[in-house]
């Protein structure tokens, strides 16, 4: 039944996205051109990676607003360190360093949330502030106009190049797109076929039931935030490579847009239900909205308003589905599950 609902949600979001594409195509005539599509796909890489992390957290009934700050800090530290040692090698070492830093920072979140059973929102608001403070205060971050050559080369390498027949503009499909595909595949396999993945859904559905069913709630949550820290760091690294420079603060504030995309895709905000397909579709919708305002000739200062509206509509639709599903279940006489499980009995 949950599956049916979410499937309906995905078709619905696809229709909305297609309608939007059609409108943009009619208004500008520039949407379905090879280079615009490739541009959109490459704009999707970073939000897509972030969204996978945010999706897994929301599935488990938590929320993480610290991932942009986490990614900024770990990528800034990585880039700065590699510049200091004058690193000339390939992309592998930066990735490993960023992943390690992401895991450590994610572990801070995970430790506070799982061991002390503190509310995830307030913990991540706090850690976001701490990460930002460490980056700007302790590391004294400034914009790095040059990044190590290996990272730069990786950001500029292309899988293929698309050209617009009319205007002659070309767009590259970055190799980094493979990271998104690989992460997506990995997340899909873990969520679908491992006990760990089923545990995430179980915790999100009802933490106490999951605990009694034998899931080690603390470890599952802890490892989740470590994994999300790693995914976020990877996303940050990809972004810096693709931009060819490291601007420490320009990722901050992305969290709401990403969460909006995940929730728009039909992920239950209370946890326990949702699919990766929906999550990616929702993110695509947000990316289209953001990238196409220029094509539609809408001034960019409307962007905040549009994103806010999308978040409220997306979470609203999702919330109404959750409460309708709850009412349906109650009407059928099945035991109603408390949506506000506050912690695992000690």
């Amino acid at each position: 039944m949950v599956k049916k609902l979410s499937r309906r949600n995905e078709t619905y979001i696809t229709l909305v996205a297609l309608a939007l594409c059609a409108v943009i195509q009619i208004r500008s005539g520039q949407f379905f051109t090879p280079n615009n599509l490739v541009d959109l796909a490459s704009a999707l890489i970073v939000p897509g990676l972030f969204a996978i992390g945010a999706f897994m957290v929301i599935i488990s009934g938590g929320i993480d607003v610290s991932f942009p700050a986490l990614a900024s800090l770990s990528v800034y530290a990585t880039t700065k360190f590699l510049l200091n040692i004058n690193y000339q090698g390939g992309i592998l070492v930066p990735i490993l360093i960023a992943l390690a830093l992401g895991a450590i920072l994610g572990a801070v979140n995970g430790f506070l949330i799982s061991w002390f059973s503190l509310p995830a929102l307030i913990v991540t608001l706090g850690t976001a502030s701490v990460f930002k403070g460490v980056m700007q205060g302790a590391l004294n971050s400034t914009q790095l106009a040059v990044i190590p050559p290996g990272m730069d080369a990786f950001g500029k390498s292309a899988l293929f190049v698309a050209q617009n027949a009319e205007s002659g503009l070309t767009s590259r499909m970055p190799v980094a797109a493979l990271f998104l595909i690989a992460t997506l595949l990995l997340a899909y396999l873990v969520l679908r076929y491992t006990m760990y993945g089923r545990g995430l859904y179980a915790i999100g559905g009802n933490e106490i039931s999951a605990y009694r069913a034998g899931f080690s709630v603390k470890w599952i949550k802890f490892l989740l935030y470590v994994a999300v820290g790693m995914i976020a760091s990877l996303a940050g690294l990809v972004r810096v490579c693709m931009m060819g420079q490291c601007h420490p603060t320009n990722m901050l504030g992305m969290e709401m847009m990403i969460i909006a995309g995940v929730v728009l895709g039909g992920t239950a905000i209370t946890g326990g239900a949702g699919s990766l397909t929906g999550c990616m579709l929702g993110t695509i919708l947000i990316v289209i909205v953001q990238n196409s305002m220029i094509l539609l000739g809408i001034p960019t200062f409307w962007q905040g308003f549009a994103v806010g509206l999308l978040i409220i509509i997306g979470t609203g639709v999702s919330a109404m589905q959750v409460s309708r599903a709850g009412a349906h279940r109650a009407a059928k006489g099945a035991p109603q599950v408390s949506r506000t499980a506050k912690g695992v009995p000690q």
Binding site: I63, V65, L112, F116, S117, L118, P119, L121, I122, V123, L125, G126, T127, A128, S129, V130, F131, K132, G133, V134, Q136, G137, A138, N140, M256, I259, A260, V263, I269, T270, P299, F301, W302, Q303, G304, F305, A306, V307, G308, L309, I311, I312, T315, G316, A319, M320, V322, S323, T340, K342, Q346
Partner: protein
């Protein structure tokens, strides 16, 4: 029994806050006595803290219900920008008419009430979790504020407004402080002398129990978020007077600061617990902390988010242990 428990818990917070304040004041007395303990320095504090203090009062009310209001800064800027634009428009043809300032203040408060009621509707009727509803509406209000100003600051506001709201009564008492005291007294009155208070705590303790005992939860939530919106709008109007301009980016750090104050003051993020006295004390402690930090120019201002975030996390972990100790 339960009542006993949260009084005792509240006391732990208050004792901790007083200890922190005394330690900090002693520290400042030793290192920066001449610069910190002056009438002007305390007067400046009295002008500054109402900005976020007013917002924190709203966040407190929402958190007692088990929710949260993360849109306060968005509401404050929205209200301040509306009031600022209105003042400028009224003063466009020469002098600001006499009804100009009251009208602008009323418009700001009305915006706050409407924005708060909107939050309340999202939380109660549509049942969006408060975190997401208010983060989303923050983006929305902030977006509207940017659209209204095209991303620029609203400045050159008639000085009469700033002279009035950022003025001094008897040449010493900041008007902002008076506004804050009046609002805090009103909130205190609501919580302790009317049925609104007990209802609020009941809703926060158990939403279902409150519903089964006949409370109109939806109306209570809408009322609470509306109050929070009004508090935030007043904070915005104070900001407008203090800076004599308004902009969508102002006060960005206040969101975290408000959550920090409310948690520091002993309000439980899961709802049902917490007292106004704790929150008031937390507001004052935070102001003396940040004013004190300002006296050390060698501390980079970028460290402030680090300190606030660190204190917030530390307090939550401490709370975990106090609560655990009480349970045992």
């Amino acid at each position: 029994m339960n009542g006993m428990k949260w009084t005792r818990r509240g006391d732990v917070h208050i004792v901790r806050l007083i200890a922190l304040a005394v330690l900090w004041l002693a520290f400042m007395a030793i290192f920066k006595f001449g610069k910190f303990f002056t009438a002007i320095s305390f007067q400046t504090m009295g002008e500054q803290f109402p900005e976020f203090g007013l917002m924190a009062l709203g966040v407190m009310l929402c958190m007692i219900t088990g929710g949260i209001d993360l849109s306060v800064v968005g509401v404050a800027n929205f209200a301040a920008i509306t009031a600022g634009l209105l003042l400028k428009a009224l003063a466009a043809e020469g002098d600001l008419p006499g009804y100009g300032i009251p009208l602008a203040i009323l418009a700001g408060i009305a915006i706050g009430a409407a924005a708060g009621a909107f939050n309340g509707l999202l939380v109660s009727k549509i049942k969006i979790p408060p975190i997401l509803a208010t983060l989303g509406s923050y983006e929305l209000f902030n977006g509207i504020a940017i659209v209204l100003t095209k991303g620029k600051a609203v400045s050159k506001i008639p000085m009469a407004y700033s002279d009035l709201v950022a003025g001094k009564i008897f040449g010493a008492l900041p008007v902002q402080l008076v506004i804050f005291v009046v609002v805090a007294a009103f909130v205190g009155f609501l919580l302790s002398r009317t049925t609104y208070g007990p209802k609020l705590y009941m809703l926060g303790t158990s939403e279902r129990a409150a519903r089964f005992s006949g409370l109109k939860n939806d109306r209570l939530l809408i009322k609470t978020y509306t109050l929070s919106g009004i508090c935030a709008a007043l904070g915005g109007l104070v900001m407008l007077a203090n800076y004599n301009s308004a902009r969508a980016e102002y006060g960005a750090v206040y969101t975290l600061q408000c959550v920090l104050i409310v948690v520091l003051g002993g309000v439980s993020p899961t709802g049902g617990k917490g007292k106004l006295s704790g929150v008031l004390l937390a507001i004052l402690v935070l102001q003396i902390l940040s004013s004190g930090l300002n006296r050390f120019p060698e501390i980079n201002s970028f460290f402030i988010p680090l300190i606030w975030g660190g204190v917030l996390l530390m307090v939550m972990v401490l709370d975990y242990f106090t609560e655990k100790g009480q349970r045992a």
